[in-house]
């Protein structure tokens, strides 16, 4: 199986499927994931705005995918910490993308930066940094 199709499955954990997360592109050490807008992920029922928690899940998943891609293997990892800055709110009805770059790997730790946006990556809605503990165990993707 090609790495691309394996990576696509990273969004296919039970909760990834529930949010309908999709891999849209990859570069050398980075990936982009999409969170399609849906009624289920609304946090503000009046303005129909997406809940920050769904954005956090998109970002966390994108980090995992970027690490798989950068380390060129499906070795599992555990999130140590994740910090998200919410710069602005995504307009209602818009899909949200997360561009995650695993910019540094040591034997034990992976460092990732993320930009989340709707139309234009230069106008992000959120930015994030995260560190992960790497593991020798294989991530369970069928």
């Amino acid at each position: 199986m090609s790495e691309g199709s394996l990576l696509e499955r990273i969004a296919q954990t039970p909760h990834g499927r529930r949010l309908n997360l999709q891999l849209t592109s990859t570069e050398e050490t980075s990936v982009t994931l999409k969170l399609p807008f849906s009624q289920n992920i609304i946090g503000d029922p009046i303005k129909k705005l997406v809940h920050s928690g769904a954005v956090t899940t998109l970002i966390d998943t994108a980090c995992g995918a970027a690490i798989f891609h950068a380390q060129k293997s499906l070795q599992a990892m555990a999130t140590l910490d994740l910090r998200v800055e919410h710069l602005t709110i995504a307009q209602s009805g818009q899909d949200i993308f997360a561009y995650a770059d695993c910019y540094h790997l040591t034997h034990t730790i992976a460092f990732v930066r993320v930009t989340a946006y709707t139309d234009d990556i230069n106008k992000p809605i959120a930015t994030a940094t995260a560190t992960f503990m790497r593991s020798t165990k294989k991530f369970p993707i069928q």
Binding site: T13, H15, R18, P45, H51, T56, L80, D81, F139, P140
Partner: protein, 148 residues
């Protein structure tokens, strides 16, 4: 009725279940609330669809974070006299243990309540409160975002 007025009515009637009903995402991930004294306390019942690592199995880290963000939001809504809906500014989470297939509980402390912004600490645990699965902190904007 404006959203803030609706929330104030819910608070007045101490109808903590109605609060979750208002937030589709909270229902979606399985948030349940209860009242402990004057505090609204959030729990997250285990659901297969919240799994992020099927091998352990463990909850998705994003769900744990989303649950804790929402717990802080509900806590602020319940405790603070609302002018606006608190808006998350930043959120930082440390993962301490995997979230296993069990109910997750949370507690939230307001560390600093200013006129415009609040800082909250949130802890999440499952079977043993002294063994938290994650701790987090976040700033929430309480005022309107308008020119100073």
């Amino acid at each position: 009725m404006s959203f803030v007025n609706k929330l104030n009515k819910i608070k007045q009637e101490r109808d903590f279940e109605a609060l979750v009903e208002l937030i589709p995402y909270a229902k979606f991930i399985g948030v349940e609330t209860s009242l402990v004294g004057d505090n609204i306390v959030s729990g997250l019942r285990f659901m297969e669809c919240n799994i992020g690592n099927p091998a352990l199995p463990a909850l998705h880290g994003g769900v744990i974070a989303g649950f804790m963000e929402n717990a802080a939001l509900l806590h602020l809504i319940w405790q603070v006299e609302l002018i606006n809906i608190p808006k998350i500014v930043d959120f930082s989470i440390d993962y301490l243990r995997p979230g296993l297939a069990a109910t997750t509980y949370s507690s939230c402390d307001i560390i600093r309540l200013g006129k415009r912004v609040a800082l909250c600490n949130i802890t999440a645990w499952q079977t043993d409160r002294s063994k938290p699965i994650a701790q987090a902190r976040g700033h929430f904007l309480l005022s309107e975002n308008k020119p100073l």
